[in-house]
Amino acid sequence: MEEHKANRRYGRIMLCLAVLLILAVLLSLSWGQMKIPFSHVMAALLQGIAPGVADAGVPADQAAVLWHIRLPRTAVGLMVGAGLGISGAVLQGIFANPLADPGIIGVSSGASVGAIVAIALGLSSLSLFALPVFALLGALLAVLLTVSLSMRHGRIPVLTLLLAGVVVGMFLSAVTAAILTAMNENKMQEYLFWTIGGLDYRRWDHVLLAIGPMGTGIAVMLLLARHLNILVLGDTEARAVGMPVTLYRMALLLLASLTTAAGVCISGNIGFVGLVVPHMMRLLVGPDHRRLLPASLLAGGCFLVFCDAAGRVIFSGMEVRAGIMTAFIGTPYFLYLLRKQQRNLSD
């Protein structure tokens, strides 16, 4: 039966994604200034899981790099990529538009304002957590502003939400620009470095900071996937089958924003993952969000970890930040999708 065939196909795709994810993680642990052979990576990981096993013979410097640099960095990449992937899929569903991404409701511009305030006040040099916490607050405030601007009579019309998101985004960019022009060069550089999202110098602290909100956001979004299938069909259709539309739209919007914001605050703005990954997965597993969300989760993590690893080895002696790599790989792919869609339309 066709339905079982579709189920089997989905299973195979998920298995492939899982294998790719493991490969990306291994590459990310191995590649970099200090090359660590796969055998050593495996041995060190085994040793970490079961310390009783005999000494695996991994040099101490390699083990240190692995545990204190590469692993936290890869973990941040996995979390952020997965979070951006699934949030992008949820937002594309809420807006019933394949071009929506987490930036559309002001998350990234809000985070930027938060970050620049933390830098301008000099708080970022006092504590490692100041900048992420400010970015998170900025992002959440921006989303709340967007939602409250578009709320009318207890309902949130999608088009108004979209326009409000654009307006809030523009306004906050202006705020950022105004603060930026008044800052000294050092602080300016610090901000610039933050805007181009990257995973370098990420520590276990960063993982611990974001894992709570991101884990919660992701888990609840997965749980609500079925409702997104109804929400996509529009207000009237959703109300006709008895869905409390505003409640679910608001809940999913806030979950996607929280997840994205928590990701942005530990990695900076990383584009294209939330846009390209869900789009690609929709072509592979179809539009049913019960499949699309888990697939986007895996693929997002895989994509970002791979981009980060590739950015470390693409030029020798110089690292290309993950936020730049995702755009380099994401843009051509997106253009290809766009052209393909145009061809389909003209047929």
């Binding site: 066709e2 339905e3 579709a6 019933a96 538009n97 394949p98 749980l223 609500l224 079925r226 409702h227 299938n229 109804i230 996509v232 069909l233 529009g234 009237t236 259709e237 109300r239 006709a240 089958v241 008895g242 869905m243 409390p244 929709r282 179809g286 539009p287 049913d288 019960r290």
Partner: protein
Amino acid sequence: MSEEFVFEAEHLTVGYPGRLVLHDLSFSVRPGELVGIIGANGAGKSTLMKTLRGMLAAQEGSVRLYGRKIRDIPGRELARLAGYLQQQTAVPFAYTVRDIVMTGRYPYLSWWQQAGERDRQLAEVCLAYVGMADQANRPLQELSGGQRQRVLLAKVLAQQTPVLLLDEPAAGLDLMYQEELFRFCRSLCAAGRTVMLIAHELSLADRFCSRLLLIGQGGLIADGTPREVMTEPLLSRAFSADIRVSVNPLTGHADIYTQPGQPAADREKLLRQITGREGSDGRA
């Protein structure tokens, strides 16, 4: 459901704040009736149906469903009582026909619950009923307008409601399926369901509906059996046109003809402007 009436509208005024469409309607609908709502374009048929379904708030008066005020019935319960087929549904992304029909099961599932085997079987049955079982795995976007309409009807059927409100269910259907649809509705009513539908094709409404509500001039012009409603003066009033009705003695059904609404000379003049042959006296 032992109540005497399915719907009761009392001094109902429908429309939007600042733009009232229909005033002071009072009527009631009994179980098993097939009620056709007819009237000219823009008369307010859809607005009335949305208000009956609780999608729009009544501007004045009230709507009762099985004796309860419609706005007091929670959304999920309402979705188990009255199905609603809207005039146009835009489906983004490549959802399959089966996916869409399965959404009709939504009001029966708790928020954490997934659809089960029984829901899936019911969806298949509904698809078979509208003759679309062989298309279950195709994306809805690929289907023609008429096929889509049938899938959406199957979705409403999967909701298993005692009441169905259908806004122009026959729009875009082939002649054969238009009649087929009215027959579907009649058999649903024979099985105890109550159907209200908006009909464009007056002769089909005349043949199949047990009762007609004629809407026009900002209110309810007539309410009764097709024989009582399908009369020249009433229809002419509702459609602001000169309408002739002749009852076919063989079938007992009405044939409806319209006379041109505008004077012929005026139309000639407008046509000359459109075709750009103003100076040539309409000949050329």
